[in-house]
Symmetry: C2
Subunit: 227 residues, 2 copies
């Protein structure tokens, strides 16, 4: 193909294809869908939602947004390997660029995380390395933070590797803890002030990098660009 002149605009590479994995209510999924609708997530689009629990309310949210949604359960698959094979099949059929864990509570093996190295991100409701790792999920994180008496907590978006909450940190936001906070109050404040902002922003930032061919998880040149 002839080299494009400066006056001819190349077509933009396609948007990054995002799969969101959920286990429950899917409020972080909703935040991403809202960002997409509101023009804050412009370089990626949610093209698939997978729940590992049947009947999870997040599946409704996907349906309402017109996004294909699947339920794939560990139990239904019979083994961890078959479970991950089914996930990988669905993710690859979707031509997924970026996997976003948004309240996903199922274990993912090293085989899985290495297969999608630097292409899976997760949100953790604390300032890693505080209150993270095995056993720290959901309200347990906030219970531990309050038990320690911290005055500041927050949320962290990070890449997912084989170590629980051990991958590289992408973004963090601090949130104040107030006297009289319960785990539930703190959880909601951290969701509103940190999680629902950080996760869509990280999805956008990484989608942008993927689209520009500048993301380290994608060795190949930017998809859709003429070379």
């Amino acid at each position: 193909m002839a080299k494009a002149s400066n006056s001819v605009k190349r077509p933009d590479p396609p948007k990054a294809r995002i799969a969101v994995l959920i286990s429950g209510g899917g409020t972080n999924l909703q935040a991403i869908l809202d960002a997409q609708k509101g023009g804050l997530l412009t370089d990626g689009e949610v093209t698939l939602v997978i729940s590992n629990r049947s009947g999870a309310f997040g599946l409704e949210r996907a349906k309402n947004a017109g996004v294909p949604a699947l339920t794939i359960t560990r139990k239904g698959c019979g083994s961890q390997e078959a479970f991950e094979d089914a996930l990988m099949k669905a993710l690859d059929e979707n031509r997924t660029d970026l996997i976003v864990l948004a309240g996903w509570l199922a274990i993912l093996s090293e085989r899985f995380t290495r297969h999608y190295e630097q292409r899976i991100i997760n949100i953790h409701p604390a300032l890693i390395p505080s209150f993270c790792g095995e056993g720290f999920y959901g309200l347990k994180v906030h219970e531990a933070a309050l038990a320690k008496g911290v005055k500041v907590s927050g949320a962290t978006v990070h890449y997912v590797n084989e170590i629980p909450d051990g991958g590289a940190i992408i973004a963090q936001k601090a949130v104040r803890v107030y006297p009289g906070d319960t785990p539930e109050k703190l959880q909601l404040r951290i969701m509103k002030q940190a999680e629902w902002k950080l996760l869509p922003k990280a999805a956008q930032d990484i989608s942008r990098q993927i689209r520009l061919g500048a993301h380290p998880g994608f060795a190949k040149p930017a998809r859709g660009q003429n070379e």
Copy 2:
């Protein structure tokens, strides 16, 4: 004594007497002295500065502010016990209410910390429980934070007990980490944005409680009040 009528104002109880313990430059000492001069520390006053290193620049800062200053070294005392005996003698002769560790790098035994239970506070340049405990002091804290890739760090004021950085948290402030930060840059930003504000404020808040007889480290009624 007859009960004072509402029209007769009782004299205020005396200000809390603060001893600041330093090992080096004493920038946190300076922040407290500045707060005192600037009217932000009104319920306490620095009445003694002790350095465990001879020639520490913080001693000059004390001198410039007209505050009595002593040097008491572990080596000069011959043993940990004699060192702490000398500290306790100086602190008690000063009728110290509150001990503020401001860059104090000497070990204090459980005997010492129990003697002044809930009356010693320390500033740590990270958001406890991140990057704290044995071996985390000075630049090492910031080196560890940058190695972990955190996007938010900060400082913590806490009571001192027998566990390094293990006492109850009094106040915390988050500080952003920027790309390209060195341990030195991050250290200075955390000092300016967090430490130099948090420590004087904590000293004031606790001095206020002491003065009002409402501090748990003082079982006796407020000093100087007529009962």
